[in-house]
Symmetry: C2
Subunit: 411 residues, 2 copies
């Protein structure tokens, strides 16, 4: 069953606010058996809004709108739905009372303009908003539904989970969509595409490939009238792809590299320490984004100066001989990190984030070391040097993947 | 002059990738005199893509597409434009050579599929891609332009700034939009509104206020037929707002808190060291995102364990008496960081990122210390605990703002 999202707000078009509501909804529709065809962002522009909304309503069983439910003149979602349905808005007595009580509970008078939030049309009923003053609308005509929800994420999330999802489940039966994402590393997109040829181009299950900073993703989308039917379509392709890509697969579905590494460390009962130079703490940041990382992550040193590298256990002669940005120093940093912090594993990153060259090495030059009780090894990387932030990001992703490689080969 | 954006990729509809390209472009179009009417996200769905693209092309002088330029079968942007223009694609010899040389420089053979990226149509010319294999398209028919750009941000940004903007400036004359963003801290949105009353509600220049994690932003948008005219409208309001908000202003336009802090440190010839617990290196990461930060940033310690805090100079008795998550320990961490790394200033962050409580303190509890040669002070913060990543982010922003406060009051 098809659906579209229409998000409104001039700030979305000005790039001042990122439309996270649509991706929140987009990620949740398939499991409800709804297939999202399109997301449209419009400004606080009545004419354009009505045009987009009408087109969506005419061809989709479900249209979801976000934003435009506030009390100001810019908030035109109710007017737009009324116009699309050709109906007149009226002040609903019950909703009016809900608002008055709400403001009373905040011990303030209801501002006159908020009466807008008590509006309804004959074909719409109000959806309670537990987080704010703006009720949503469940508007339905000719068997097709427009669900209007507020833009502020915490209001949207609560209304979606608590009020909208149950009503959708009531309506949508006999259509289940299952997805599987297989994350590979070390292969180019075109090569992945070639390797997966036999399953590409099929309609159901549908397989797509996507290039990401941490490798090429394959995504399988299977549709069935029941969970079992969708599963029966998904499983063989899932297994086939895992067999084809085998060791190149580092993660499944929404698992991140840092989560994968965390799981492996925890499973193997190993602890980790880091010493970062050019990535300036970003590796530690990602590692500690994982809840429970304190079980295996002991901490790190951001050795932005050579003095600190040496004070932390990197032999000074290595820096003198090879330079701070070198394979031996990366290996020594990894070793020093695990020694200094009493960890089983150590990772060291040294490089040139840019924009200036360092020790005659161009921006994008990065060395990553991994050390355990047996040995310390380092590898050289060369990333596109256009952007300091991206050099850091790629170095960190590569370090996590190197760590993952070490943990899996060690098994 | 009107513009629309069409972003393609099933991953955008599945909520797997946030469409940051559109907000990047949306924020930059006004300054080029282009008014964005609509952003549409479609899947890798030829029929829908062509429908949306054709509608946009027919009514806008400029349509920008992002994504769908890869080498795989579901990269259909070229096919969609060809169909909208009713033209046939052909392999361009020059582009083919560019690709072959590119792969040669990576010492690999060009996969057969990549030949797609050498496609052109009579009405399109290739836009060089310095960051990847996919050239963009500048496609123009009946005086209306479709600019096709790759989806990966680093490729899009470089192509936009380096290749597309100059060509748009060539075309769009007689309409210049200038913007100025003034970033304030320490004032509520309602108060900011009140203080700015006299300039709010004017149409040109238009002033808007936006609540952000690092304070309230005021955005001035001035339109003129020439740069000078727009500037003449912008300048007085800009000056007035800077005068009104004075010491509450911490940054202008794209300047970030970490850049502001970096500028202040550099101007005052001071060095900085950090010790982070709950933020796990994110503060250091942001500080080192600033080019040239090695001039003032000496490095940091991520003391994820109490042993490391103590080994780094935090008095053990403070942790025993007050707990690791406490004001005294935050101050001691700041002091220890500057002592241990021989820096003029030290910052210490300790807190509970969540989801679990720590030492009986709930997630969102954070203490931030700032130390100089004279003293070490710490403050308590309490952030919404719903999301581990957001607690870290808010803590880091607060630490940077505290540092900025210290550096400006010290002046």
């Amino acid at each position: 069953m098809y659906a579209e999202i229409v998000a409104s707000g001039t700030e979305l078009l000005m790039g001042e606010t990122q439309d996270t509501d649509s991706s929140y909804l987009g990620a949740r529709l398939p499991a409800l058996g709804l297939e999202l065809r399109q997301i449209t962002l419009v400004g606080d522009d009545m004419e354009r809004y009505v045009e987009v909304l009408e087109r969506s309503w005419k061809r989709n069983p479900f249209t979801f709108t976000t934003g435009g439910l506030g009390p100001t003149v810019d908030d035109v979602t109710r007017e737009a739905i009324a116009q699309v349905f050709g109906e007149q808005v009226y002040v609903d007595g019950q909703q009016r009372q809900v608002l008055i009580d709400l403001f009373k509970s905040r011990s303030t008078e209801m501002p006159v303009r908020n009466i807008k939030q008590a509006w309804l049309i004959p074909s719409a009923r109000a959806i309670p908003n537990r987080m704010g003053t703006a009720p949503g609308w469940w508007a339905e005509k000719e068997g097709r539904v427009i669900v209007a929800m507020p833009g502020p994420p915490r209001e949207l999330y609560e209304m979606w989970e608590g009020q909208v999802v149950p009503q959708i489940k009531e309506r949508v039966k006999g259509s289940v969509v299952l997805t599987r994402t297989i994350k590979t590393i070390g292969l180019g997109e075109a090569l992945v595409d070639e390797m997966a040829t036999e399953v590409l181009g099929i309609q159901n299950p549908y397989v797509g490939t996507y290039a990401k900073p941490d490798g090429i993703y394959l995504r399988v989308i299977a549709r069935g009238s029941t969970e079992g039917e969708a599963q029966a379509l998904l499983a063989p392709v899932d297994e086939k792809l895992r067999r084809i890509f085998d060791k190149s697969v580092w993660g499944i579905d929404d698992e991140t590299v840092e989560e994968r590494v965390g799981t492996l460390l925890h499973q193997q009962g190993l602890t980790l320490a880091t010493m970062e130079s050019c990535t300036g703490g970003q590796l530690a940041d990602l590692i500690t984004n994982v809840a429970g990382s304190s079980r295996y992550y002991k901490g790190g040193i951001i050795s932005y100066t050579n003095e600190l590298k040496i004070a932390s256990g990197v032999p000074a002669h290595l820096i003198e001989t090879h330079g701070a940005v070198s394979e031996p120093v990366a290996a020594a940093m990894a070793q020093a990190a695990r020694m200094r912090l009493n960890a089983d594993l150590g990772v060291g990153i040294t490089g040139v984030a840019g924009p200036e060259a360092l020790e005659g090495k161009p921006p994008g030059t990065v060395f990553i070391g991994v050390a355990d009780a047996k040995a310390a090894k380092a590898s050289a990387y060369r990333f596109p040097a256009n952007n300091r932030g991206l050099v850091k990001r790629r170095a960190v992703t590569s370090a996590l993947l190197a760590l993952r490689g070490h943990l899996t080969s060690a098994v």
